[in-house]
Symmetry: C2
Subunit: 242 residues, 2 copies
């Protein structure tokens, strides 16, 4: 399938919005696999097959403005990954969201690393705010599947902490040459959430109620049953502590 921009015959002038989208797509492709300091407006013009002055006409603020616009577009794409119908076992829903998220991370590896690592010349309070918006959207979606809209402090902190852990694990995953495979990482991240829900429920009533609701929607022999089976021997080693 060709993109609308490249399918447009050369003799038709692109509309302002089409041109903007074309430049953004070219920029996003470059920022995905290179740190922002290694992408020039010349590169973007070349990738889009247009002149440098034209790039400047659309992004008068230069590379920083283009970077922030590309980041905003990537943030929207990422937030789109989080949308998941509230059907079926919640752990399977989280697994599907993580599949899409890890595919995004895989496709934007260098750019994702440069953005999240910090210390990039392109980082500003605005880029930080965009990334924080994505984190908030992710937290809201997870809470939705837990059946909670306004979480208390413990449950709210738990969800936000897990999201930070997912981010950190993604960066480590890229660093380590994407080993283990995305499926194994996804399963571990789901079980990480289940473990965290468990220990938080052990000390917080709101989380305990959310976990009870979640367990009612899970299936026999599903993800939680499998984890519980494998946890048996581990927990057995703690019998002398009770």
């Amino acid at each position: 399938m060709t993109s609308p921009a490249s399918a447009t015959p050369a003799y038709r002038r692109l509309s302002v919005e089409e041109r903007r989208a074309q430049l953004l797509a070219a920029a996003l492709g470059l920022f995905a696999h290179r740190p922002p300091e290694e992408v020039s407006l010349d590169d973007v013009a070349e990738a889009a097959g247009v002149s440098r002055p034209l790039v400047y006409r659309y992004f008068a603020g230069g590379k920083q403005q283009l970077y922030e616009a590309a980041l905003r577009s990537a943030a929207e794409e990422l937030e789109g990954c989080f949308a998941e119908p509230a059907d079926g076992p919640p752990t399977d829903r989280v697994a599907r969201v993580l599949d899409r998220y890890l595919r995004f991370v895989d496709q934007h590896d260098t750019g994702f690393t440069a953005l999240m690592r910090g210390g990039s010349v392109a980082e500003t309070s605005r880029t930080t705010a965009i990334v924080d918006g994505v984190r908030r959207a992710a937290a809201e979606q997870i809470l939705r599947h837990l059946g909670v809209t306004r979480p208390g402090p413990r449950l709210g902190m738990m969800v936000r902490t897990w999201i930070a852990a997912v981010e950190a694990a993604s960066l480590i995953w890229i660093d380590e040459g994407k080993r283990p495979g995305a499926d194994e990482l996804r399963d571990w991240l789901v079980e990480h959430l289940v473990g965290l829900l468990g220990v938080t429920a052990a000390g917080d009533e709101e989380t305990a109620r959310a976990v009870a609701r979640l367990l009612q929607q899970e299936q026999r022999g599903g993800r939680i049953g499998s984890l519980a089976g494998r946890l048996g021997p581990v927990v057995g080693g703690a019998a002398h502590l009770l």
Copy 2:
């Protein structure tokens, strides 16, 4: 107790090292509670009771050099917090490390937030490297208490992910007016580690062996026994899934 610098009579000249330490201490005090962009060299000179040219003489690179030197000094202090003898139940050792860490976070709240949030004007690849060094030191200490020096990929990722979660929880904690109290947060972070060790051990033999060793060093009625007791009812809700 007065600091060595302020106890020095005015007529004695400070040595180069003493003067440097005095300026760094003054800078660290200011950077702890204000974002770096709100601290000027004038402020540092005033806090140290010296002239601005003298601050420049010691830190010719200006505020950025002073900020990085203060950060390096804070990083050393923080790494000092992680040192904990390998005696007694490992979960109690982790709790003591977290006590010292949370006290540090409490004492450097605004500076810690500005540094970790990213997007600060003072952030460079050098400041990022200093913070990464602290994370590495923290991971090594945790692994030491787990009796592991060269962890495999799953255990290594688990420990680094938990450290990221502790960082994220600290930032949320500062944001939320340091509620819940530091003791409650510490206990939850220890249980977070235990939960994460449990689910990771359920899928990774190296982690399972580390957990088995850890459980042998815990005490009846200690942190893990208490958690297991409170987890009982939560886990009971999953009986239909096995």
